[in-house]
Symmetry: D2
Subunit: 366 residues, 4 copies
């Protein structure tokens, strides 16, 4: 008899992103519940478990995978661990939700996809922009013909640098702002346009501000040509002051729309004394700020997690797949190569390194 | 044994507001499910039931009240029917969710409150602004001290006129824009400031645009003095072109915040061809428009309905009560009287008519 | 032979507002030049003269009035001095530009108007909102029928308190935020609607934040009924944090427009280090701020001064007169009386005190 | 004896841009006056002359050049005529104001610059963005250190296609949206950063919407690397619906600013009936629109023309030179070549064609 009721979920990780997953499931509890969390640093998993009332805690995620009732496991660990964890989860017969970017190499991606397919589990790629309400509205309008043929999709995510130290380390992250944030933009443009093949990519990268901290790029501009003739312009930064910024703009021959998740949704606020929280990565709550509300909801996290749970129960068809993550991964390799070569790179690009960023770093200064 | 599981809900009504209730419950299904709808016009209830998969349909709400499993009934009928329906529901032993404004007279309000108390059922007053995410954020900041002492709360709801014909009929509605929309603003300021007593009210009313359709006010400005020294400025209109507008502004000695639910959340959009839907009461989707997203969520409807269901289960304490609705009702009487008298009216005001609007109409032109 | 060439101008005063006049003339130098400045505090006039290259400096404005070539004198002194100065200037045969509000009493206003008429000089009332480019655009659209019949004009000016100490002193200022800032809003609504008679006024006043500094109002809401059926809603504050705010909103049966001179024109800016200047009365240039550009131009100061000079040369007809200033003055008296009485005051109101604010203070707490 | 008084100006052209020049001089008349206009189409010059009170009218600009009192001539003719006209004007001993882009080839640019130098006349390059008040404010903040080191300058101008038919004709225009609008953005980034040498350029071009009308690009994305390490991102379109859009964004390690000349300055307006004028290239004034005010002033036209006149009188030093125009021209060649090559082009680039656009068209599809 197939399982019914709420999907039981385990989370690997205990930091920023794990917290977001737990909060997302909590906000829409109809379809799933988090029953376990695993994190290797003593105390960390306990802390998350306490905040969200998660009953079971593990130091080793492999122990968590032994729990027979857990049906779906989400991965919020550093990028370099995604492939191994996905494969372990799949072999344990559980569905996988893997945070972005999917992994480090195309070979890893292929193995992840194959293993999940073989084991009959879902490989859900956690691209929340596919579920972000404001962006979904933009896509609905486009799909209703509001803009005629869309010729340019712009997506930009910028802030002053990531929340966890491992992002700066290219061994663990595999790339800088382009990999961390550009994976969103690439996926967004691809999805928005209906998944046309990517024809070519050009990227401009720089380490403008954080060279003391990282060899990775902290600034990235990326131009994508799609087979359907449309263009994507993806802008990312780890060097933008003033808090998080996530914006999309859609241009078609028949119209245009602007979707700004932060300044375009916020309560412009002046506070002499400060207050609890304004927005992700905001530097201060004193003076003027742009506090947002229902941040997780407006990013689409609970909607995304609910969707994945419903897919597990067969109520919906997976909208963000390992294959999507692989497309993004290959585009990231091409983009880093392009930045190193100073020229547009044709797709499909065959990577020459084991980390996207090395396509750029190895050619830099030559 | 007390009931458990999802709260079973019946809806009275089948039009605009009933649809919103059904959509609200659907969006957050964890705590409640709509199992019945009652509407006297043949076919209407069926239509709503079909859209939302509601199993049971009634022409007479009293028949619906005989269903033993229904625990909570929401009222979306014209204002003049609220009191009788509430009393009937309470006598049937079911919890009541009554749309705004609460009723027509203070005597009705008292009887509604008393009957519900006597029968041991909740009388929930459906003021969604207490649950509107952007406004809740404003209140959180205020409660965290962001603005120091708040001295002015502004709230404004404006559009070009209501969706159902009964609103224009003062027999059924009891008042115009002030009653329909100002009830939100009065409740909002009262709630935002922590429910201080209302000391006095001044209102300016006019029928500027829709005099051919209604004797009621289509424009209302209302100044409220609270016991704690703060002021409320409530602006409402049935004559504002361009679609729905709902805004609040908070001023304290230590800061200020601006919360605009529509233009301040929207995707500014130009469409040559139009598209499905922009926003409540929008005149067109061609040319420039301000489409919003997740409209019900951003008004707070699902959060509100979920809260009421959780109150039925004893998981939360009712945040929007019949008593709140009575405070608003008394303030509405005072406001209409003030507009008729041309002076500030001290509270508590003892009504002299059986419909709020008559306090103004009876004195007008004298 | 009548004078030709540039109109030679003298300025009385040397502080904030005098600086604005000098800057305004400098920005549009075609029609006028400032040749003298008079200020009683030793050094002050010199300082202004140096900044703007003004050749002549006086301690006593009466000495300045003896200069035969000066044709127009602008008054930026405290309100209580406006009448005497205007009369002195007129008797000296020179045209007068008097800052707002016009004076302290209606008797003063009448004497100012009469004297100027008798001496054949212009009495220009320096209401810059009649020249503010963004507001002029709003009026042009209205006059072109964009909004059909306009039924509501909103105007609001707010900041955290005036730049010169005399404003707090009711002896010198004659009123608080309503008098200082509301005079703009009242004039604006009157002008925007085509100068219909004012039928009634209601005002709500409070001293919320600055009671230690002033007996005057630091918060004012004012509702004006015009003979043509339209309403004005004027909001003013000396207690609004975050820098200057000046906004107007126009509502007609056929449309609406929003004109915000500050946040609606600014360059939203985040600066870690700060910079020279953001906007009038801004608290800081670090963190987020809303710097504006060409501030004087966007308030309409140079356009206003140019207009007055052209009126002196007979090239244009005076658009902002002593009579306008008198209408505002009478409305201010009525508004203060209304706040004291707690009721709408019918116009024309006959003042009972010698300073507008006393109409309120004398009745307060009774 | 050198000339004094107002600089006497002649305008070549009578259409859109000529009107802007005439309006610009009229708005700030202190330093210059337009005394003549020349246009080959019978009636056109008369029409402009009538609108602006210009006394002298010519069919042949060479006749206008014979007028001895004219000191400065502005060119608003198609790009392909700029060089010959500039040389004729210089030989006539008059100062030149040449509209953007400067000309068609670098050889032309050199001859223009050399001839003007040899004849001792100014060659002013009419890049109004150097005078646009909002952008000037952004640069002032940057120069005051508000943003620390600026690493990214974004500039975008977009609309739905030019006002005169010759723009679509590559013979006369020499390029499409990149040449017409990108010349602004390139100049802006160069100027904003303090004129660092351009190191490389990458451009992505497309003809998405107007292929039936033009062989030129109607969409352009351009990434510029400057010697100082900063990047420029220039976005242009002739295919953006909804009226004119001109925006700049500045990113530095210490801050960020957003300057939007249109939606960020406008009066958001809804009109059921329409009105006179909203903004350059706006499709309609009915429904929602974004009317702007003082459009010429806010683009900086009068300030620019005043500056050029003052340079003629030696009161200021030329801020926008033929050399600036040449830098932009060379960058345009490189950008078109880059789009053809699909790779970043190193500067200084040596053109291989006689029109910028041919660097792209000749390589396209190969």
């Amino acid at each position: 008899m197939p399982p019914s009721g709420k999907v039981k979920v385990g989370i690997i990780g205990s930091q920023f992103e794990a917290d977001i997953h737990a909060a997302g499931f909590q906000l829409m509890p109809e379809e799933a519940e988090v029953v376990a969390v695993a994190s290797p640093t003593p105390g960390n998993a306990e802390s998350l478990a306490k905040r969200y009332g998660i009953p079971r805690v593990f130091l080793n995620y492999r122990d968590m995978l032994k729990e027979p009732d857990i049906e779906m496991v989400t991965i919020t660990a550093p990028n370099s661990l995604h492939a191994q964890m996905t494969i372990d989860i799949a072999i344990a017969g559980k569905h996988v939700v893997c945070e972005k970017p999917l992994c480090m190499t195309l070979a890893e991606a292929d193995e992840m996809i194959d293993t999940c397919k073989r084991k009959g589990v879902l490989l859900a790629y956690a691209e929340e922009l596919f579920f972000t309400p404001k962006y979904v509205k933009a896509k609905q309008m486009a799909d209703q013909g509001a803009f005629g043929k869309v010729y340019l999709v712009k997506q930009s995510e910028k802030h002053f640098g990531p929340h966890s130290p491992w992002f700066w380390d290219m061994e663990k992250a595999g790339g800088g702002a382009l990999m961390d944030l550009g994976c969103h933009g690439i996926a967004f443009a691809y999805w928005f346009l209906g998944r046309p093949a990517i024809k070519s990519i050009y990227a401009h990268l720089a380490t403008n501000v954080h060279a003391a901290k990282t060899k990775g790029d902290d600034e990235a501009l990326c131009i994508i040509e799609f087979e359907n003739g449309a263009t994507g312009l993806i802008e990312n930064s780890w060097a933008r002051r003033g808090g998080m910024s996530d914006r999309s703009e859609i241009f078609g021959e028949g119209g245009v729309t602007y979707a700004d998740l932060h300044m375009g949704n916020a309560l412009p606020t002046y506070s002499e004394y400060g207050f609890g929280y304004a927005v992700e990565k905001a530097p201060s709550t004193q003076g003027w700020s742009y506090p947002v509300f229902e941040e997780h909801w407006n990013y689409g996290i609970p909607q995304e997690m609910r969707h994945f749970a419903r897919c597990v129960r067969g109520k919906e068809t997976l909208q963000s797949t390992g294959e999507d993550g692989r497309v993004v991964m290959q585009a990231l390799y091409a983009a880093y190569a392009s930045a190193g070569l100073g020229q547009k790179v044709q797709m499909p690009y065959k990577p020459t390194t084991n980390r996207p960023v090395d396509e750029w770093l190895n050619r830099k200064g030559k």
